[in-house]
Chain length 346, copies 2
């Protein structure tokens, strides 16, 4: 009989509220013969305040014994900016070699978009997740004085770029439109830009069926709001991907619907699934958080573990739920979770 | 009697078409007693093809003898990406120490925006122009091999950050809403982030009347499309500013209306004014280019040189021209230039 050993990190703020809904839907959609074993990890702001720890080695080791990780949200205003981001979230992405940071953007019917004319949006950003400006490389000299110099080093390797670019081509080849756009800033960031562009062109020869395109990151933001329908799959650097996927979320109904997967395609380490939104301390505890992004992240998790049919059922349930939302009876986090769980088990 | 010694670099593509319109409006708006002396510089793709030069020392020296520079656009597909950007455009910004890259965004009545509900947009981005990831610092090792490592180094100095932050505060203090937002990514780019944030907070003490705010760059892109009316003045790093100002242009009627000033506030070197758009080789020579962004850049130039009333007249002329556009009779580049010149001299 099959099983899924799932590590659960609810984290901070609304993470504590949306993760149970994700689990509810996951339990409801899984076939009876699949045993779901969850283990919860107490990581985040509370833990840091209590013990000063962000991600102890023992927990990191233990996390390796799971098939996947479901994460809610990390961060609280009471913790200095960056401590939990770098000591927990980015540490997980780097140590578990989540080099494919997968962020689909789809404008579901009946969801709000700030864009006039409701363009047809359905694209996926494949954001590199383990290098670029996110390595923590750099430093500062004469810190705090008028002579301070602070650097940030973006580190890009052929090894790191080639594997994510190849993954993006494969994803593009598997989609209907088969189009892949590289986004970078090659005219200014020439060293990294050449590396990305050369590898993008070279790997493209292996995928003759994929149409390719290149855009500077600044121009890409223009098309995200004027012609988002032109995109199918986008592959880009860690920082550009961070920026573009928040913008993508904003034009497709908001950060409350944006799902993501931090994927280690080799399977050496567990992949991690999380909503793109943060811990939203302003609404934490009010039952107002929309668990949909977490539920869509569960769909990505199911897909990653090979439960394609179940993933599709979760996506359909979300699409139907959104289609029937009227806006005049706001539901609680729990009610939305119940409704989605009922749909997938129905 | 007064005079303006203006260096003119039409550059490539539509730069050749829009710059004459900017000059037409400038001549029309200047008081009779102001002598306008223009000197044209042949720089850009044609020159590079003819001589291999991007910006020879003699020309750089000569450019220093001007009160300001009006630039059209640089770049052509026939020139390898980056050659003219780094060898000409960025070289001018760096050598002439254009540390304030000023980019106002205003949604004029009757102009198209991709945003539903037409929010009230009127903000200014103060983009740092002389450091950050734009320094060209970095390199590549084992180039072209599977073991390649390519780096890009963002260099940030207290000297460079403090002067642009102070300039931004002063601009915010002079506006009605007096609000300044710092945009960075302090939770990930901790070294540069701390430098920016500390200086932002410290200089703020000199401007108690200015309300301050901080946003991560990814979150800022969300607000650009969902709540752009929340912004008044934004100060940010060179690369984030590049990305955000293209997005800002997109939501305020497009890149065809976005003006910019590359300003050296100390006056040691001439400041340079240019539309944010590129050379648009696809429409070059067709008379379809809209010279409005160049004309609005001329308004920034006038403001910088102390011709406040004239700058205001140019802005008003543009607002009126846009308000009366019907869209059913497309005008040529030249006709729009004539119409604007007629309005300012009227
Ligand atoms: C919280 C932060 C470190 C993170 C990032 O920058 O990657 C977040 O913005 C995201 O996109 O997942
Ligand atoms: C052409 C390019 C080098 C330039 C930049 O990145 O600054 C442009 O995008 C701009 O915004 O003026």
């Amino acid at each position: 009989s099959r099983s899924i050993r799932l590590a659960v990190i609810p984290g901070d703020g609304i993470g504590q509220e949306v993760v149970p809904q994700g689990l509810k839907v996951l339990s409801a959609v899984l076939p009876q013969d699949v045993k779901l074993e969850t283990q919860e990890y107490d990581l985040g702001a509370r833990r840091w305040h209590a013990t000063g720890e962000t991600l102890p080695d023992a927990e990191l080791e233990s996390l390796k014994n799971h098939d996947a990780i479901l994460l809610g949200a990390i961060g609280d205003p009471s913790v200095p900016s960056g401590v939990l981001e770098r000591g927990l979230l980015l540490k997980l992405r780097f140590v578990f070699d989540h080099y494919v940071n997968l962020r689909p953007s789809k404008l579901f019917p009946n969801t709000a978009t700030p864009l006039a004319g409701r363009p047809d949006i359905d694209f996926v950003v494949v954001r590199e997740g383990t290098e670029g400006p996110y390595t923590g490389n750099g430093g500062s000299l004469r810190t705090g004085t008028p002579a301070e110099v602070a650097t940030e080093v973006s580190v890009n390797t052929a090894y790191g770029v080639e594997r994510v670019v190849r993954d993006a081509y494969a994803r593009a080849a598997a989609r209907a439109r088969k189009k892949l756009t590289l986004v970078h800033k090659t005219n200014v960031l020439a060293h990294a830009g050449h590396l990305w562009k050369n590898i993008f062109d070279r790997v493209g020869a292996e995928f003759p069926e994929v149409t390719t395109d290149y855009l500077h990151v600044d121009a890409a933001t223009i098309f995200f709001v004027t012609q988002p329908e032109r995109f199918d799959v986008i592959v880009t650097d860690n920082l550009f991907g961070d920026i573009l996927t928040d913008l993508a979320a904003a034009v497709t109904g908001g950060i409350g619907l944006a799902a993501s997967g931090n994927i280690n395609p080799s399977g050496t380490f567990p992949s991690m699934f999380e909503p793109v939104h943060g811990s939203a301390p302003d609404i934490a505890g009010t039952g107002k958080a929309d668990p949909t992004a977490t539920v869509l992240s569960v769909a990505l998790l199911l897909q990653h573990l090979g439960y394609e049919a179940e993933a599709a059922r979760v996506e359909t349930a979300v699409a139907q739920d959104l289609a029937e939302r009227t806006g005049d009876t706001p539901r609680t986090t729990d009610e939305i979770g119940d409704a989605l769980a009922a749909r997938v088990s129905g």
